[in-house]
């Protein structure tokens, strides 16, 4: 019998989604001169309890190129999904990696 952990920060299972994605083997593309972390997102869908075994899968879900008068950029969106022992999706984390350079 396990008991709920209580209130967890939404970042608890995956504090840095970008680092997690890369550590799980995904390549972080750098198309242009600079490479930055553009943002993170965390969603809790189900509670988790101590002792539970969780599974995570990382993938790239979107890539987008943009050109403005000042910059051109390429954004790669990584996603880490976490499932519990019952196969239920419990959390989703996303990271936006942005590579950019000034338009000459």
């Amino acid at each position: 019998m396990s008991r709920p952990i209580g209130l967890l920060a939404p970042t608890a299972l995956c504090p840095d989604p970008l680092v997690t994605a890369v550590s799980m083997g995904l390549e972080r593309p750098q198309q242009y001169e600079r490479l930055i972390d553009g943002g993170s997102e965390w969603r809790w869908l189900e509670p988790v309890s101590p002792g539970e075994q969780l599974w995570q899968i990382a993938r790239i879900i979107d890539q987008e190129e943009r050109t403005s008068t000042r910059h051109r950029s390429a954004t790669t969106v990584f996603e880490i999904r976490t499932w519990n022992e019952q196969g239920r999706l419990v959390a989703v984390a996303r990271a936006r990696s942005v590579s950019y350079e000034e338009t000459k």
Partner: protein, 312 residues
């Protein structure tokens, strides 16, 4: 840190925390915790080589400070279901940072108050370096259940089989269905004969909006929403509020798609045209191998005039 004020309304400040100076130690501890040893975050020379004023504060560290402050601001039976942070500008070691959260919307749900917040980090010079949002779910106190909730009743929730599967239907996807779906969207211009089916990898792929055509409620295969017309107030408006879909893979001709429908949210809000009753249903589309094809959420609202009660 104080707990969330009892009276929550748009504009309520949940917290404002000032950190006089980001220390290199903060970043080194964070780097060790998350296994991120990028020198840009702790080595002045590495930062200078990239034209920066000093080691750059990790974006997710700032997000984690916000997350921790949110946890401390609410009671233990609350839930923080979502946090989004956009990293707009870099902050550097030595900078003074302010972390803030403010309520933007309060939505009464059946068991909870959904509290939407704006979060931000203000860096040197008063510039916003992180902006984003968070969603908190706070349990409603007993006395709050009836207060303000004039439309949602337990009978209504039971009729919808609220929170559990309300129905499960299976549909075979055929090419002529897709052609009819395409024709229903608009006439096919001879100069722009948009194909109803896109061929990809040898498979005929349905358009991404096709999930709506196999929604059991829209098809009247699942007809359990009749109670909304039994609410004792006149209907003065309403319609589709939103549709969302997330695909694991496309729907293709030949698929046998099983759609499981559940009503996951029923709540009300005050709208310009009256008291709005929202019903949100979630569909999970699976294939013959029981693998998920897509998940969708669809919200509908009906507006009632509470100033006038229908005759029984």
């Amino acid at each position: 840190m104080t707990s969330v004020p009892h009276e929550l309304e748009p504009g309520t400040r949940l917290f404002s925390i000032e950190l006089d100076e980001v220390q290199l130690e903060h970043l080194v501890r964070w780097a060790g915790a998350v296994d991120d040893y990028e020198p840009l975050h702790y080595d002045e020379r590495a930062a200078a080589a990239r034209g920066l004023d000093g080691p750059v504060v990790h974006g997710p560290w700032k997000a984690s400070v916000l997350a921790r402050a949110l946890v401390e601001a609410v009671e233990a039976d609350a839930r923080i279901t979502q946090l989004t942070c956009h990293y707009r500008r870099p902050d550097f070691v030595g900078d003074r940072l302010t972390f803030q959260a403010e309520v933007t919307e309060v939505i009464p749900r059946h068991d909870d108050l959904q509290v939407e917040c704006a979060v931000r980090v203000i860096g040197e010079g008063g510039m916003e370096t992180v902006v984003g949002g968070a969603t908190l779910m706070l349990p409603r106190k007993n006395e709050e259940h009836c207060e303000g909730a004039q439309l949602v009743t337990q009978v209504m929730l039971d009729r919808l089989n609220y929170g559990q599967e309300a129905g499960r239907f299976t549909y075979r996807i055929q090419e002529n269905d897709l052609e009819r779906f395409h024709a229903s969207i608009g006439p096919v211009d001879e100069l722009d004969p948009r194909p109803s089916v896109t061929v990809s990898g040898g498979m005929e792929v349905a358009p991404p909006t096709y999930y709506m055509a196999i929604d059991p409620v829209e098809r009247r295969d699942l007809d359990i929403e009749g109670f909304v017309y039994q609410v004792p107030y006149p209907i003065v408006g309403g319609g589709n509020a939103f549709n969302e879909v997330e695909y694991e893979r496309p729907i293709v001709v030949g698929d046998l798609v099983t759609v499981s429908t559940s009503f996951t949210e029923v709540y009300e809000k005050v709208g310009r045209s009256g008291q709005l009753l929202f019903r949100v249903r979630s569909n999970v589309l699976t294939d013959l191998r029981d693998e998920v094809i897509a998940r969708s959420r669809m919200g509908h609202a009906i507006a009632y005039d509470l100033s006038e009660r229908n005759m029984p």
